[in-house]
Assembly symmetry: C2
Homo-oligomer: 214 residues x 2
DNA sequence: AATATATCGATATATTTTTATCGATAAAGA
DNA sequence: TCTTTATCGATAAAAATATATCGATATATT
């Protein structure tokens, strides 16, 4: 029973799909069809890999033709859940939180709809940023459970992150987008995706460091 | 001659090292030594994997004891190049750029020192944000080559990203931290790390989408 | 002092991810 | 119409990554 193991999409595939999507959006006017070969060339990937990634979405292509651009775009969006608004709570109205809120691409392109903002700074409570009212952190659990919000975004210092995550879980939030540099402990049925910029920076400086020292 | 292939650190390892680092910083007062087993438990990883990751830094541990906490921290920092200031140019003084600039952790913890900011909005030229003056984008090449700045950060809309990357490369920049959702084309000796938030969001919503539909 | 145990480093195995191959097929060109 | 070619989907091979095993060793326990 333990080894049921639902076959799930490889994470690298999930990371590449948004790239393809961005590309498709840019060329939608150009032509009707697109092949894996073309997409692969754009990104320097292997065509077979692109084909496998795309196959995950369930789309059926045509030999010698490829895929219909618009259909492929819609399939990827549906697969990622970006075709419908994903409601989210944002915790942390500091620099990062504010940037996330104002970054309109999230709403426009990825369907991420931040419906409320929370912060533990009393001075901010009741104020608005980017049209959203700021609430006290203690209200997360209650509001999340009543509004059935599925996603929580953590953009606060690491010390408070676990406590906020606990409150989110208690409120029934199923996915946490975590910008704090800590390992959150959550139940198995809650997905945590760490968007830690430091991780990305490490890859850059680590490679650079190696390269420049050779 | 083409297949020289320098043995390089696996990217997953580079991604995990900052996690260990953050953990080490949190416990430094707690004790003298730390074992892979303990670190692994903290993150839910396999101890052998942690040991391999750590081995990349060149540290030597002691059987039955583990590693000296402080030494390990310093080794990881040195390995990632975070022990010395990494000078960088930031292009884009919008929401994201400003957040990056103000996010003090980058400077304090990761040694990322943003020395100048560029934007193509004439109204911003000469102004200061977070103590840094804003320059016209056209000056990147000249300034980068004269100041020998190794890192460029791209925090602008996708349309302009490639052009800015070209200017960075021309100025001798060797590492680009790219926040724009496009595939940058650069010479082989330039490292590009894509810090695309959309990619991370895709992993979250993709998994959620699958989970909630089962 | 002898034995047990945790942990290291090294090596071997397993799993996952990427890349290559192959037959089938739809369009283009001879 | 027949051949050639690009591309698909499926399957196989290769490469990368993660996990397991094993002898050695330093500390703790009997």
């Amino acid at each position: 029973m333990k080894d049921q193991k639902i076959r799930c999409t490889p994470e690298p595939t999930l990371r590449r799909l948004p790239l393809y999507l961005g590309y498709l959006k840019g060329i939608e006017t150009a032509g009707q069809n697109i092949s894996c070969t073309q997409i692969a060339k754009e990104f320097g990937f292997d065509p077979t890999q692109v084909r496998k990634d795309i196959a995950e979405t369930g789309i059926i292509g045509t030999a010698r033709v490829g895929y219909n651009v618009q259909e492929l775009r819609l399939k990827i969006e549906a697969f990622l859940g970006w075709n419908k608004p994903n409601e989210a709570f944002l915790v942390g109205a500091g620099n990062l939180g504010t940037a996330l809120l104002k970054y309109s691409l999230f709403k426009d392109k990825y369907g991420l709809n931040i419906v409320a903002v929370f912060d533990d700074d009393k001075a901010k409570h009741g104020a608005y940023i980017a049209g959203k009212q700021i609430f006290p952190v203690e209200k997360i659990t209650d509001l999340a459970s009543r509004m059935h919000v599925p996603i929580g975004i953590i953009a606060i210092p690491p010390e408070e992150a676990q406590s906020v995550a606990d409150q989110m879980v208690e409120g029934g939030i199923k996915g946490i987008w975590n910008f704090a540099p800590v390992a959150l402990k959550v139940p198995e049925d809650v997905v945590v995706e760490n968007a830690r910029l430091s991780t990305s920076l490490a890859v850059l400086t680590g490679k650079l460091n190696k390269m420049l020292s050779i």
